[in-house]
Symmetry: C2
Subunit: 316 residues, 2 copies
Amino acid sequence: MDRVVIGVDLGGTNTRTALVNREGIVLDKQKEATVAAGGHEQVIAKLIGNINRQRENAGRLGRTVIAVGVGAPGVIHEQTGVVVKSPNFPDWNNLPLRKTLELELGIPVIIENDANAAALGEQWRGAGSGIKSMIFLTLGTGVGGGIILGGRIWHGADGMAGEVGHMTISPDGRPCGCGNTGCLEMYASSRGIVMTFGEIWSQQDAAAPLPTGITSEQVYQAARSGEPIAARAMQDMGRSLGIGIANLINIFNPEMVVIGGGVRDAWDLFIDATRDEIRRRAFEYPAERTKILPSVLGDDAGMVGAAAVALQKIEA
Amino acid sequence: MDRVVIGVDLGGTNTRTALVNREGIVLDKQKEATVAAGGHEQVIAKLIGNINRQRENAGRLGRTVIAVGVGAPGVIHEQTGVVVKSPNFPDWNNLPLRKTLELELGIPVIIENDANAAALGEQWRGAGSGIKSMIFLTLGTGVGGGIILGGRIWHGADGMAGEVGHMTISPDGRPCGCGNTGCLEMYASSRGIVMTFGEIWSQQDAAAPLPTGITSEQVYQAARSGEPIAARAMQDMGRSLGIGIANLINIFNPEMVVIGGGVRDAWDLFIDATRDEIRRRAFEYPAERTKILPSVLGDDAGMVGAAAVALQKIEA
């Protein structure tokens, strides 16, 4: 019987589960809201339910599930699959997620950080196919990162590497939730875009009240319809992203930088400013040779990458 | 007969050549001025002379030299040992240094970038002994870097990785020779220290003329004797370095950061400010676990690391 794996992207908002074959093709997928407020026991119970439904699915397709990969937010201990710390699931500190799932499922389970999983997904079946050194940036509410060097994730000494969103790009800039000021995340995320829009609005016309409850999608839409403040906000965001990417190019000399997350949808509104800034700041040769591309897999990247991790483990 | 290697640190100012045994002990060393102005043929002729003198030395000590490692400034093509581009030796572009030396010497020669060689030297026999992930920063006229991950140098896709001195730490800051503005190198180098001293001096007392021809060593000395402008300049430098190191900690989660180069001599004048800034900016756990240490080997790091590269190659 054909052997397949299950890849799970366990996000703070949604849990995505996919049946993936050895070529990285998604045979089936499902999405369900994650209810973190109910505590880890409830999240895990639902997760096991989802995985078992996909196993039944696999059986109907004449396939056997041989392993499960889970991309989870936070710091993961590589060898043991323990979630050491997770900002989205406050009661998950030191949770032995791998052991818990393996006991229940009876097959090997591998846990990986969610941004790393998405990076591996893009490298396996997305923009970075065939690429050995790649930096993946996910621009959402925050800015996450996954660093692939020599074809493998660089986890760092404690599994905490890849926090590229917390690179300082403006030393006296906006205060960040991490305690620093001027983190890339405060400028190149959806939240950052809304803040920048608000700042320019206030500078331009202090008399007109700032519309409340503005979303990043509304800023994209306004920029596309030619609204100048929104357009400027997107270019500012692009320049901030360019400072961060120029730093990464000078540090890593990678083959590729892939940009995913919700902000990727506004690609055309920021990428020219980003490329200009990279040209201005990074060394010429590595800057010109580094391909800067939007993510291809989108929301599927995490599941596909989690499946890749599971397959790698089984085959090792 | 006991087999040994020769490690060479081919700098823009001095060429250092050492006889090194397999334990990384320097059996003999010599230093000579590099005369780059005479063109690459003259530099290579002197280099061969130095190496042959050390081979004779080895013979007298009852040892055989089995390989030579050379740390050279610039971009080195890893497989071929060609110096692709070297800022200190303008006529060296695309010079086949390895082939040239091997033809002359008749034993294997390995070429490595000089900052990478120094990083490997510190990891082998210096501050980073036993450490697998280490960022080496050399603070001299400029700021160079060597990145060791999983016990090996990360060279990047084209041998151009590790340019940590050209990380932007102040987007609208001082113009740098690389074309960027606000590079770490413009603040955390000996040149940067002199510039900062001059800036504070002018702000403090515009009437008093700035002493001309000030050196970084004079700034250290003044700071040590309690002169407040010099002391502030050193603290400013320490903070800038802290921004850069905090970024590297968030990106790499390394075990250790080692600081070498001439500015290391002023360690006590900047390190508290550096540590404060790291604490303020980097994630708490990786920041606390990363050891920040001064280089132990000093000027020997490059030769010892070049010897390590030669030994690794021979043993592989």
